[in-house]
Every structure is written in C-alpha cells, then in structure tokens.
C-alpha cells in the first residue's frame, strides 16, 4: 500500500504527501522497492537489469550509463556485470535488487526482509551498504524478523504483532522501557528448572521460565549471579548478557509460535 500498488480496504494514507490510490505512478517515481522475493529478470545480465529498470522510470541512456557503473561498484558486482542473473548467488541477487531500487535515486527505500536467507558474510556486506545509504540521507523503511538487523539499522522501530502496533521508539529506548539492562540465563537441567523458580523470583525484577533455562531480568547480572551462588544454588551453566531487542520483541509478542 505504501508502495502505491495495492489498494487499501479502508482508512487514510498519504505517501510523500499524496494519496497513493490517486497518484500511484507519481509516488512510485520517488520510491525504491526491494521485495522479499527477488523479482529480477533472470534471462538478462546484471547490467541489463539495471538498465531496463532505469528505463521504467523514464531515465535516459546518458543518465543511466554512469549511474549503472556507480551502482555496480556500490553493490560490489562489477565483475559480474555481463553475467546472466540466473547464475548469481543469493547474496549477489539481493545486492542487485537493492542496487536496482536505487537507480532512480529514490527518496524512500522500502526493504522487505532484505537479508533473510543470506549467509553471515553476505548479510554484513548488505548491512554495510544500507548503513552507507542512511548516511547519504536516504530514508530506509525496513521490515525484518532479525532483531539484530533492526538494532543495527533503525532509528525508529515499530514492533507489530498480528497487524497491531505493540510499541514504537528507538531501539535503545525500547530496551530501556520494556526490559532490564541485563539478562542472567541459568540452567539447572530440564527437569529441575521449575523447582527453583519460586526461590529465584524474589531476587530479580522479572523471571521467565523456559523449558530448558530460566531467564532473570536484572540491571546487574554478575552481582545477582554471585548472590545466587552464595545462597547455595548451583546452576549447571550460567550466562550474563546484555538485553537485546529480541527480548523486547518476545516480551511484547509472546513466545508461542506465530503461524
């Protein structure tokens, strides 16, 4: 809907100050879209894909030739310029799709789960590229299931569950608001975890019992751990870590599987 292609069932919407149902093409001229599933033209080469997509925006050959060179460098695909898209790896296709979305120098870049299915190297290269775009002043609108991705790239974050907005703020602010600074993870063995919960409950802000471990939310994990061991409890493993957006997300949307 924000991409100015789908019709909305109800409500009001303005993108770049215009109603997308009335001014679809005019709005789309200023958007760059990276869909969840790459929809490149697999029979054409990398360069041709960038070229024809630029043509769809009515851009001239004179503008596109240097622009394509710039985008090939940006996406680290210079060596693959004359290779057919079907021969590219998943990460390369993803980078090409992002480069393609940038051909018209959009004001807003919309990315739907840009790194899903990529290996860690490819993902980090993508994050680096996206961060550079942000530095250059492009607005990124991003959906993701990876909380570390959101933490890396987002200034303003909306947590959604079943179409409802659960929370909205910067990543750091969300962590501050919804969870404690640190989390202490304890394992006593799968069967024994439950018998310690009551005893531990008084010692921390919030406790959560999972099948395999107990999570204790606290502002100082190390001190809490020392205290627990001092009181005669001996967990098999213990881990103190910083709270992350993932904890916020799980707190807000629950742990049961969303199908």
């Amino acid at each position: 809907m924000i991409g100015a292609t789908l019709q909305r069932s109800s409500g009001e919407l303005a993108v770049l100050g215009k109603d997308p149902e009335k001014f679809g093409p005019q709005i789309r001229a200023h958007l760059g879209v990276v869909p969840q599933q790459d929809n490149l033209d697999s029979e054409l080469t990398v360069r041709e894909n960038l070229y024809i997509y630029g043509r769809y925006f009515g851009l001239s050959k004179k503008f596109l030739i240097p622009k394509i060179q710039e985008l090939l460098e940006f996406a680290q695909l210079e060596e693959k310029r004359d290779v057919k898209v079907e021969a590219l790896s998943g990460g390369m296709k993803r980078r090409l799709t992002i480069a393609r979305a940038l051909v018209s120098e959009p004001e807003i870049l919309m990315l739907d789960e840009p790194t899903t299915g990529l290996d860690p190297q490819a993902r980090h290269i993508l994050w680096d590229r996206l961060f550079r775009l942000k530095e250059m002043g492009v607005t990124l609108l991003l959906t993701t299931h990876f909380m570390d991705e959101a933490e890396q790239l987002c200034q303003r974050l909306i947590v959604m569950d079943k179409g409802k907005i659960m929370a909205e703020d910067s990543p750091a602010e969300l962590i501050r608001k919804y969870v404690t600074k640190e989390v202490l993870e304890l394992r006593f063995g799968s069967d024994k975890n439950s018998q310690y919960v009551d005893q531990l409950q008084q010692k921390c802000d919030r406790i959560e019992q999972l099948p395999d471990r107990i999570l204790l939310y606290t502002n100082d994990g190390e001190t809490l751990l020392t205290e627990i061991i001092g009181s005669g409890l001996h967990p098999i493993t213990s881990l103190v870590r910083r709270s992350s957006l993932e904890d916020v997300f799980l707190r807000l949307t629950g742990r049961s599987l969303i199908e």
């Binding site: 991409g3 292609t5 789908l6 019709q7 679809g24 093409p25 005019q26 789309r28 001229a29 200023h30 958007l31 879209v33 869909p35 599933q37 929809n39 490149l40 033209d41 697999s42 029979e43 054409l44 041709e48 024809i52 997509y53 043509r55 769809y56 925006f57 009515g58 851009l59 001239s60 503008f63 393609r100 018209s104």
Partner: protein, 270 residues
C-alpha cells in the same frame, strides 16, 4: 525537475520501455526464433503443400481447389496460423513468467509503469516477433510460387491481424491463470489445434458438414484465411463478407486488449 520530465515520459511511452525489455529478452533466443520461423514453413510446404498437394492436384485436375493449385489455396491459411502461433507463444510465456514464475511484472509495477502499460508492452513486443515470423513465412511462400497476385503482400497484414486478435484474447486469458499446470497444454490441444483443423485451412469450409461449419465462423483463423485468400489469389467473397471478416478480427482484438488491461491492473493491485 529532471525527475518531473522523466515522469511525463513514462506516462506517455511506458509501454515502449516494456517492449524494449521484452525485445532484449527475445534477442537472447534469436537463433531459436529464426530457426523455427524458417523450418516451420519449409516443413509444412514440403509435407502438406507438395506431398498431399500432388495427390489433391492429380484428383482435382485443372480446376484445382477453389480454382487454384493446392499450395496456393493452402498458403494464406498457413501464414495466418503461423502468426497466431507466434503471437500466442510470446504473450503466454512472458505473462506466466511475469505474474507467477519470476514475478517481474510486480517489479515493473513498483516503478511509475502501470498495469495497462505492462499489458500493452508485452502485447506489442509479441506482435513485433510475430511480424518477423510472418515476413519470413511470406518470403518462403513467395519463393515456393504460392503467391500469384500483386496484392499478396497484404496477406501479411491479414495474418498479423489474426495473430493480434488471438494474441490479445490469450493475453487476457493467461493473465487470469493462477495455476499454470495444464493451462497451456489444454489451450493448445483443445482450442488451437481444433481451430487449425476446422477453419477451412486444408479444404474449403463449405465442403464440411453444415453442423461443423460454425466452428469456422467463430475462429479468427477462418476469417483471416478468407481475407488472405482474397488477396493472394482472388478467392471470390462479397464486399459485405470482407467487411464482416475485418470487423470480427478487429473487435476480437479490441475486446481482448480491453479485458487484458483491466485484469493486469486488477491483479497487480491486490
């Protein structure tokens, strides 16, 4: 400022950008396209035109079929059916590709390009390729001596009209396809093949039992064949029927495009 200009260009020439992209795709298949365009007429002319033709000519004597040699009688029908086949190939495959397999129509639609422009672009590009096929076919017919009159070149445009009419309807039908499993095979075997056989292609429609003749009447191929024969060897039809044939083909073409435009836009916006 620059972008405003570009946007005006897209609203005016958007379909041509799609044509450009389609041509780039077809160019990758150029040798296959050209080979098929040459082999198809050569094989038909040798097997049916010459082989069956010698049998028919021997039996019919100097009168021939409809007053001409069998090959001459057959030529415009083969030309039109080659145009129809070419147009169908180039609208069905890219449309399934665009909506289902590669989903690149959705990529096109995330730019200022509209659903109408995508439909029109795919259609024009298909007719462009069909035209290459038709010209090659026509030249081979000419070399084979199957085009005796000076107006025979008009048969190319009749064939294009037939391809255009069938192509626009197929563009619409393919854009409706959600599951492609048997669609193309079903269309080929249940519609195209029967029409090819029952459209007065190999013998005059009038020599068929009256009950089967309506298949010809609704078939774009029959209308195009009648017109083609009129131009290639002076097959006698009334002025009224010439008008009917033209109007039938042109209406089908317009109807198919209108439906295709509507369905492309609808499918891209849900």
């Amino acid at each position: 400022m620059k972008l405003e200009v570009a946007q005006r260009e897209v609203s005016r020439f958007g379909a041509l950008y799609i044509v450009e992209a389609r041509f780039r795709n077809m160019f990758k298949w150029r040798s296959a396209i050209i080979t098929a365009a040459i082999l198809n007429p050569v094989l038909y002319l040798l097997s049916v035109g010459v082989g069956i033709g010698s049998l028919v000519n021997a039996k019919q004597g100097v009168g021939g079929v409809d007053g001409v040699q069998y090959l001459t009688f057959l030529a415009p029908a083969l030309l039109a059916s080659a145009a129809i086949q070419g147009a169908i190939d180039e609208v069905t495959f890219p449309t399934l590709q665009g909506f289902k397999w590669a989903k690149n129509f959705f990529a096109m639609n995330s730019t200022p390009i509209t659903g109408n422009q995508i439909a029109l672009g795919v259609y024009i590009a298909a007719l462009g390729r069909t035209f290459v096929t038709v010209v090659i076919y026509w030249l081979i017919l000419l070399i084979a001596g199957a085009l005796p009159t000076g107006t025979a070149w008009l048969a190319m445009f009749i064939a294009m009209l037939a391809g255009g009419a069938f192509g626009s309807i197929m563009l619409y039908l393919t854009s409706k396809v959600e599951k492609e499993d048997f669609f193309l095979t079903a269309i080929g075997r249940l519609i195209i093949m029967p029409l090819f056989l029952f459209s007065g292609t190999f013998y005059p429609l009038s020599s068929m039992p009256l009950i089967l003749q309506p298949i010809g009447w609704i078939s774009p191929l029959w209308h195009a064949t009648e017109l083609g024969r009129y131009f290639t060897y002076g097959h006698s039809i009334s002025g009224l029927m010439i008008g009917v044939h033209f109007i039938f083909l042109a209406s089908l073409l317009a109807l198919g495009l209108k439906l295709a435009f509507r369905n492309f836009t609808k499918r891209l916006s849900k």
